[in-house]
Symmetry: C2
Subunit: 235 residues, 2 copies
């Protein structure tokens, strides 16, 4: 068996893993969208569906991680391939956390339904949906950057995070106003505060993904830097 042959096998294994990562990414992205839909329609059914998917996402993470370890142990990859494999492990850890955020939102929906507050709760649904759209769009872009190992797209993701944070701050102000106007809704509004926070964190996870991609392609660890500084580091 030649080195060429080995390397082709390795590439095939890697490409198989890559496909599964993208599948996992698509799944958690849809989980977030569904969790927000469950909130907007107070649908316990959709909320349960999101929670069932969480188990699938968890299983995917554990299985991909196991296969990565097997590949590393068997193939003794080069430094660059190893960087890629470790990056994949970090990527799925982030995707799993996106799934967690979606599950958190779904559990909140269930609680709001169970406590019967859903009817008199003022939902800033337009804002929540918009924040969620920004966050899932960032996630999609990060996954796309992962699929193509595209640093420019990864940089775009880093730049968008600021906008999600601003949206979150605006939502916070709105929720605080609602609570002050009707203190009886404080308890359930706090739940919405955490929903807004969960969405903001989806954006953070997308940002982490983008940083991992830049690390794979450029070999530079760009974490803990502003987007502008990152751009200077990689250009």
């Amino acid at each position: 068996m030649t080195d060429k042959h080995l390397s082709t096998q390795f590439d095939a294994e890697l490409s198989g893993i890559s496909t599964r990562v993208l599948e996992m990414g698509g799944l958690v992205e849809s989980q977030v969208a569904q969790a927000i839909e469950a909130l907007g329609t107070f649908s316990g059914e959709i909320a349960s569906h999101v929670l069932k998917q969480e188990e699938l996402v968890n299983t995917m993470e554990v299985e991909i991680d196991r296969d990565l370890s097997t590949i590393i142990a068997r193939r003794q990859p080069t430094a660059r391939d190893l960087r890629l494999l470790i990056a994949v492990s970090k990527t799925i850890a982030n995707l799993e956390r996106v799934g967690d955020e979606a599950a958190r939102i779904a559990r909140t929906v269930q609680r709001l339904i169970n406590t019967g507050v859903s009817s008199r709760l003022r939902l800033p649904m337009a804002d929540l949906s918009y924040e969620a759209e920004l966050a899932t769009a960032s996630l999609r872009k990060a996954l796309d950057a992962f699929a193509r190992l595209d640093v420019d797209r990864a940089l775009e993701v880093l730049k968008q995070d600021d906008q999600i944070d601003k949206e979150f701050d605006g939502l916070m102000r709105k929720l605080i106003t609602y609570m002050m106007e009707d203190p009886r809704t404080i308890s359930s509004s706090i739940d919405l505060v955490f929903v807004a926070k969960a969405i903001e964190r989806v954006g953070d996870h997308a940002k982490n993904l983008a940083e991992v991609i830049i690390y794979v392609v450029k070999g530079t660890d760009v974490r803990h830097n502003t987007p502008d500084a990152v751009e200077n580091m990689v250009r």
Copy 2:
């Protein structure tokens, strides 16, 4: 150079990294304690100190990660050693996130001081301190389990997480009561909600550490299981 010699060098490198991980762990543990102290005394000085330390923690993470990659690339470690090296990488990622939570609390303290609300804010300080003590004790135990690769201690950490979550729920109820009694404090009380959440997450990170340690020693991925199920899996 014999294999024995190589292996001894590898052990020495690993032990050096291990020492730095424990140092990083001690640092973030003290950051959390200081952030809570800054809140209790409304000390902008201590809050700034916590934020300065965050940079140090970030640098430690990046440097240890870089050294791990170098070791893996140079030593072609066995499957078991590789598992350990990947575990160290996951450990420092968790520790860095603990540092983030401490920084988040410190920034909240700065905001509370700057908006001048500190004087009329009702702080459930005893509860916040207690929650923080539970969380940092879990973190300390997890680091201890890491130092000794001690599965029993790691299991204890998993079991304690429930108590931290209960403490968080109690704090939430108390904060909601405060807000209802004086709606003018809603905005600043929401800040305290996030402080309580940040502490709860420190407990989550300790739990993640414990799961990583079990994975290294037993080779079993125990994430996404209840503490009782984990105990059955490893015994």
